[in-house]
């Protein structure tokens, strides 16, 4: 399949309502995960507003989008269907045998300009994009989705150091701080805090915000665009269960199991919310 990518010159999309897009991402993600009964739904739930905001701000055919944690690619796939970048039928293949829409995104996944299957490597790719654009005086921004657990990988800090030194101000990291990794809450595995101070110390402009407040994410992205001397990072505080009240409270955020009954309830809940928002 020919991969459509965000920065391909012919790529076009429009986001009319980013708040609504976030709910659509959740609904599509539920529908992608439901046939298998399990999958990376928590990543879509925690990142929905961030992905919606990125697509709302990024210039189609120009700006570059990176998804560092490949498990999150479900959210950009869901957004891509809403925005007409992927055919709706493609989503039925999510995670299935022989499908180009793999459950864990890879370096060949469509939609994003770059998706990393192995964690902690996407920021380096984003740095490469930003460096290329600066070398060629190409007026483009690079948006990189990164997760808080990835900060455990040393390479993230290699890339952060490089970007800070190079003052790659056209690079914006949207960091999903959902406090979730495979073995449990991140803060039961290691101490990442103070996250804001860490990035600031590496020479980054830092915002610390509620990642489920779409308008706050949009405002922070606007402030990042105005920043002319440093790369920017948005520390988005989120939850892997946000926006889906019907999920059992003990759901494993990294890999949510979705029984048919819960999936049905989830579709109804999200559909009702979409109808309500239209009213």
């Amino acid at each position: 399949m020919t991969a459509v990518r965000a920065s391909d010159p012919a790529t076009r999309w429009t986001v009319a309502d980013p708040v609504r897009l976030a709910t659509c991402i959740r609904l599509r993600a539920v529908q992608m995960v439901a046939p298998q009964g399990f999958g990376y739904l928590g990543q879509a739930l925690s990142a929905a507003e961030q992905v919606a905001a990125i697509f709302a701000v990024a210039r189609p055919g120009v700006d570059r989008l990176v998804c560092s944690p490949g498990h999150y690619v479900i959210a950009p796939f869901a957004a891509a269907v809403e925005l007409g970048l992927l055919d709706e039928s493609v989503l039925q293949g999510y995670g299935k045998n022989g499908s180009p829409i793999e459950a864990i995104g890879t370096e060949r996944s469509p939609v994003m300009d770059y998706t990393c299957g192995s964690l902690g490597q996407g920021l380096s790719a984003a740095v490469g994009f930003a460096l290329s654009d600066r070398l060629r005086a190409r007026d483009a921004r690079t948006f990189a989705m990164v997760s808080d657990g990835e900060m455990e990988e040393g390479q993230v800090w290699e890339a952060a150091l490089f970007a800070g030194y190079q003052r790659l101000s056209h690079l914006t990291v949207v960091l999903d701080a959902n406090n979730s990794q495979v073995d449990g809450p991140v803060d039961t595995i290691t101490t990442l805090e103070p996250v804001v101070a860490k990035w600031a110390a590496f020479g980054w402009h830092v915002a610390d915000l509620d990642g489920h407040d779409t308008w706050a994410v949009l405002a922070a992205l606007a402030a990042a665009e105005a920043e002319r001397h440093q790369p920017s990072v948005l520390i988005c505080r989120t939850s892997t269960r946000h926006g889906l009240d019907c999920l059992p409270p003990d759901s494993d955020g990294h890999f949510i199991k979705l029984t048919p009954a819960v999936a049905q309830a989830a579709v109804e809940e999200l559909t009702a919310r979409l109808v309500g928002s239209r009213a």
Partner: protein, 334 residues
């Protein structure tokens, strides 16, 4: 071919990369804090805007190079072979080999050419890179080929790993010799033993062949600069004409040239006694000089002569070979 002792040329790779970059604006030069050591101080001086300090951060450097290649740049990434392969293996696999983007990874200081000890000796770099799908693997140590390698690989469609010796490089081939990515070079024909050699061991193989020929052993010497994709046709053809086969590489005998030749012979059903000369599944050690290591770990001319002689079951003691004269300025400590 020239005869030993070989004249040497200084930094043939670094000079050639600068020449190539004059006409190829897509070329970027990345350095992992080993700029002079990888001969790219020349590039930095000539094209400072296309030179990028990656610093001591190989993982970031490789992932970044993969993204740069996607944007249409042709990144030549430089560090020592050991750091270019072991440290950022996952990054090379995912960001470079899997999407098959044109990153050129240049790893200096192959095998035990450095007395810097196991931390600095790239004894498994070819094995690691050869295991990656889409990767081309090159091992050369002649000044004429080194001056050609950048231009020869620049337009290959996928990624390339090139291992290169540093500093003063022997001139073995004539100047009209052309490095080939597809054909191994059959330098002599013989019917007793077939010697396949890559990189620094080519000079060793030629010296060993001379000693053997002087004592009635008919030897083929094949220069195999490209370990992957291997010129299997030439390997089969030359091996079929000989009674025994030997490989010589400045690398572990596992996963490099010796393994590639063994696989080719076995798959062809070509039964020939085979000996792989190289590091015998061992780490080496730190020392003062590299020739000491080549002697101690069985990568000397005499060792290759002895191995061939024994494999052919020749009677009497093996002939004594002239050792290679160590190159001037062979080792610059870092």
């Amino acid at each position: 071919m020239h005869e030993p002792p070989y004249a040497t040329r200084l930094k043939p790779y670094g000079r050639a990369l600068v020449d190539l970059a004059r006409s190829r604006e897509e070329i970027l030069c990345l350095s992992g804090d080993l700029t002079r050591q990888c001969e790219i101080d020349l590039f930095q001086a000539e094209f400072p805007d296309r030179f990028v300090h990656g610093g001591m951060a190989e993982a970031n450097m490789m992932s970044m190079a993969g993204a740069l290649a996607r944007c249409g740049h042709i990144p030549f990434v430089h560090t020592f072979g050991v750091f270019a392969t072991r440290r950022p293996y996952d990054q090379i696999a995912n960001a470079i080999a899997y999407p098959a983007v044109p990153v050129r990874i240049i790893g200096f200081m192959p095998g035990i050419s450095t007395p810097g000890g196991p931390s600095h000796q790239a004894i498994d770099d070819m094995a690691l890179m050869r295991a990656l799908p889409n990767m081309t693997v090159v091992d050369i140590a002649d000044a004429v080929e080194m001056a050609q390698v950048a231009a020869t690989v620049v337009d290959l469609p996928g990624p390339v790993y090139v291992r290169l010796k540093r500093g003063e490089i022997p001139v073995m081939f004539d100047d009209d010799h052309q490095l080939s990515m597809t054909n191994a070079a059959v330098l002599s024909h013989g019917t007793d033993a077939a010697l396949f050699a890559s990189g620094m061991m080519l000079a060793t193989a030629l010296a060993a062949a001379r000693a053997l020929e002087d004592n009635g052993v008919s030897v083929s010497v094949v220069s195999v600069p490209v370990i992957k994709p291997l010129d299997a046709g030439t390997v089969r053809r030359v091996a079929a004409d000989a009674r025994v086969v030997l490989t010589a590489e400045n690398h572990s005998i596992i996963g490099g040239l010796g393994s590639a030749v063994a696989e080719t012979l076995a798959e062809a059903g070509l039964g020939r006694p085979l000996r792989r000369v190289g590091l015998q599944d061992t780490f080496a050690e730190g020392s003062l000089t590299a020739p000491y290591l080549f002697e101690k770990y069985g990568l000397s001319v005499q060792h290759l002569v002895d191995t061939t002689w024994t494999l052919l079951a020749r009677s009497g003691p093996a002939p004594t070979a002239s050792p290679l004269v160590a190159d001037v300025d062979e080792y610059s400590p870092v």
